[in-house]
């Protein structure tokens, strides 16, 4: 097999593995987890989301991501969902994270005042 064929196969496998992890859930949540984000408090925020998933928050795909470069608005949390332009919350705290779970992820309400415009 040529390398290009191998990589195509590997890619298909990788995509399947990602999907198996729930990538196609109706909401995908990405928490910034670079050094800068962690310094701004994203680890705590991540834990809030992880706890929520553990205690039953379903149809949500949770992943970490690197720094997108929004230094003054970190920690950032991105929510990608069906039918919407991806949304990004800035300056997320533990408390805000809990609200995002309750209001946005569970009830579908976008918390506009926390969005990065």
């Amino acid at each position: 097999m040529k390398p290009l064929e191998i990589i195509r196969k590997k890619r298909a496998e990788a995509i399947n593995r990602i999907i198996a992890k729930g990538y196609l859930s109706s909401k995908r949540v990405y928490v910034g987890m670079a050094t800068c984000e962690i310094a701004a408090g994203s680890k705590e925020v991540m834990e809030v989301f992880q706890d929520a998933v553990k205690s039953g928050l379903s149809d949500v795909y949770l992943s970490q991501k690197g720094c997108a470069g929004r230094c003054n608005l970190e920690p950032t949390v991105e929510v990608v969902e069906e039918g919407r332009i991806p949304l990004k919350y800035g300056l997320v705290t533990k408390e805000k994270a809990k609200e995002i779970i309750e209001r946005h992820l569970k009830k579908g309400e976008v918390i506009k005042e926390w969005l990065i415009k």
């Binding site: 191998i6 990589i7 995509i15 990405y30 670079a34 962690i38 992943s63 991501k65 997108a68």
Partner: protein, 596 residues
């Protein structure tokens, strides 16, 4: 219920104009008809950047990009692709530029819409610790492509054709560097990724490695293939523990998947990478010092020639590329040198990442095409100066760079233009300075840094910067003379031309450029003993105005007993005793103390 497909529709202005709404409706109708609604998710995304081919949508998994269709084509697409899993070739746009992916999944168009992300294409999108994420986004395809059917010299040819230049600061053409190293005959060669990012306020490399480590691994493997190296080394500072962890994991994962190690993808090409930690000396970013550091010696630059391409690490031909440079490589291979060279200016191609900091609203990492002006970055992306303050200067290139005044705001970002303006591209630091900063003090700050970080080897840098710093200190303390400005120029120009390495050669830049662009401020300091920004403490004069109610709070606060006055009477500061600490100014509740 698990979804089987996901459709992302471009919701950019151009696609919307081409009836995206109708298309959504058509898709929903078709899905309903086939009873597939529960199996398919629909997303809207920001502009995908393929406006000419709009409307555009992406069907996942598989990243099939559909363009140039109308709502009439939807039934066929749903029937074939969603139902039968057979993508329809005639709609599929194959120019899936990697850089575009950013907008596909990212909102925040105000900030990102003006950028173009090539090196940072995956940063903030993928899980950096999951190789699947990277592979799913065409990761390691560039490596597979060169290993399948591009000969090493052709790879180098493409890099040369792309016009990519070193992003570490000096801007040496990357392709030529590769060619020079490839040309050497040796049983052992090295590829080094220089991740020893040391400029204060710069964090491009750290973010790139933390956000997308695999692109560095892939870039290095391609470089290794092109120049005939079997071994790669990532030299990264120990102060970046997360980046170290992620690059190490990436290397281990890549090895597991067969992208590193012996006989990569069954081609007989072998290449592996190890991580070496630096202790964080600024000078170790200089390539000859970096290599000595890897060898276990004190990191000190040595004269060139011989260049690393001839005699580098352990005396072997060595290619040293910066993180950002390497991050561009897979994109150039997949999207083509021609396309890459269409971006940017005549001599500076592609994009450049900047760490935007200082007195600016949106501090952050930005990647823009070469040729973008400073004004566009500062005002359009950075959002301008907070608090309605006046812009004073922008410092580019870190401690080795220069400070540019307002008249240079329309300077285009490229290696030559910035140099002509008296600064440098450097590794990409960009610090915005407003009217509250004193330019003499700024120059002093940067010089203090380089003076402390000088390796101490060559005389001009070790001794000369020390003397310059002494003169600057003198000036900020009001003890400078007109002659001192001339001495700064004399020393600065000598150090620039006589120092051994880039650190010394660029150390005087902040001083020389501030004298060039803000000479009036220097003159005020030495002639009028005045600091217009009110930063240089020794030049301040504190006075008590008639607002004073005689509460004597200032008198108690003064450590030098310079304030006199009876209770409930206006107090007085003895300028000869005043040490200008500002304690009175801070404690006065009546705003009765004037600082000038």
């Amino acid at each position: 219920m698990p979804k089987r497909f996901n459709i992302t529709l471009c919701d950019g202005p151009s696609c919307m104009h081409k009836n995206s709404k109708e298309i959504v409706a058509a898709i929903e109708a078709q899905l309903k008809k086939h009873e597939l609604s529960d199996h398919v998710g629909i997303n809207l995304s920001g502009c995908l950047g393929m406006c000419a081919r709009g409307p555009v949508m992406i069907i996942n998994p598989g990243y099939s990009i559909y363009g140039d269709f109308t709502e009439k084509d939807i039934p066929e697409i749903i029937e074939q692709h969603i139902k039968k899993n057979k993508p329809i070739a005639r709609f599929i746009i194959d120019e899936d530029h990697l850089y575009n992916r950013f907008f596909r999944v990212f909102g925040d168009v105000n900030f990102f819409g003006k950028q173009m992300r090539i090196a940072l294409r995956n940063c903030g999108i993928i899980d950096p610790e999951n190789i699947d994420d990277y592979i799913s986004l065409r990761g390691y395809e560039a490596l597979a492509k060169v290993l399948t059917d591009i000969a090493p010299e052709k790879v180098i040819g493409q890099i040369k054709k792309s016009g990519l230049r070193g992003r570490g600061g000096a801007g040496f053409p990357t392709g030529i560097k590769w060619e020079l190293t490839a040309r050497e005959k040796s049983d052992e060669k090295f590829v080094i990724c220089n991740a020893d990012e040391g400029d204060p306020g710069a964090f491009m490399d750290r973010s790139a490695i933390e956000g997308d480590p695999h692109t560095i691994v892939e870039g290095m493997a391609i470089a290794g293939y092109a120049i005939g190296a079997q071994k790669g080394i990532v030299y990264i500072r120990a102060e970046y523990p997360l980046a170290v962890k992620r690059i190490k994991k990436a290397i281990a994962d890549a090895r597991k998947e067969g992208f590193l190690g012996q006989n990569i993808l069954g081609t007989g090409f072998s290449f592996d990478i190890e991580v070496r930690l630096g202790a964080g000396a600024f000078v170790c970013g200089e390539e000859t010092a970096l290599m000595l550091s890897i060898e276990g010696h004190r990191g000190m630059p040595r004269p060139r020639p011989p260049f690393p391409s001839v005699s580098g690490l352990f005396g072997r031909p060595t290619l040293i590329n910066n993180v950002e440079t390497l991050a561009n490589i897979p994109v150039i291979i997949l999207d083509g040198a021609q396309w890459f060279s269409s971006l940017g200016t005549e001599k500076s191609k592609g994009t450049k990442v900047f760490a935007l900091a200082g007195k600016i609203k949106n501090t952050g990492l930005v990647e823009v095409p070469m040729g973008t002006t400073l004004r566009q970055i500062i005002y359009n992306i950075g959002g301008g100066i907070p608090g309605d303050k006046q812009f004073k200067a922008v410092q580019t290139g870190g401690p080795s760079g220069g400070c540019l005044s307002e008249e240079y705001l329309d300077t285009k970002i490229d290696y030559e233009s910035l140099a002509a303006a008296g600064s440098i591209m450097g590794s990409g630091g960009m610090i915005v300075i407003d009217e509250d900063s004193c330019m003499v003090n700024i120059a002093k700050f940067f010089l203090e840094f380089t003076q402390n970080e000088s390796c101490g080897k060559c005389t001009p840098c070790r001794e000369g910067t020390k003397r310059m710093l002494e003169i600057l200190t003198r000036i900020t303390e009001g003890k400078g003379s007109q002659e001192d400005i001339d001495k700064l120029l004399r020393l600065g120009n000598m150090i620039k031309k006589a120092s051994l390495c880039g650190l010394g050669q660029s150390a005087p830049n902040p001083v020389l450029s501030t004298i060039k662009n803000f000479r009036a401020e220097y003159e005020e300091h030495v002639r009028d003993k005045r600091c217009r920004a009110g930063v240089c403490r020794h030049l301040l004069v504190y006075e008590i105005t008639d607002k004073c109610v005689g509460c004597s709070a200032c008198k108690k606060a003064c450590p030098a007993e310079a304030i006199s006055g009876a209770l409930k009477q206006k107090h007085l500061i003895d300028v000869n005793k005043c040490v200008k600490c500002g304690a009175c100014f801070k404690i006065c509740k009546f705003g009765a103390i004037k600082k000038s």
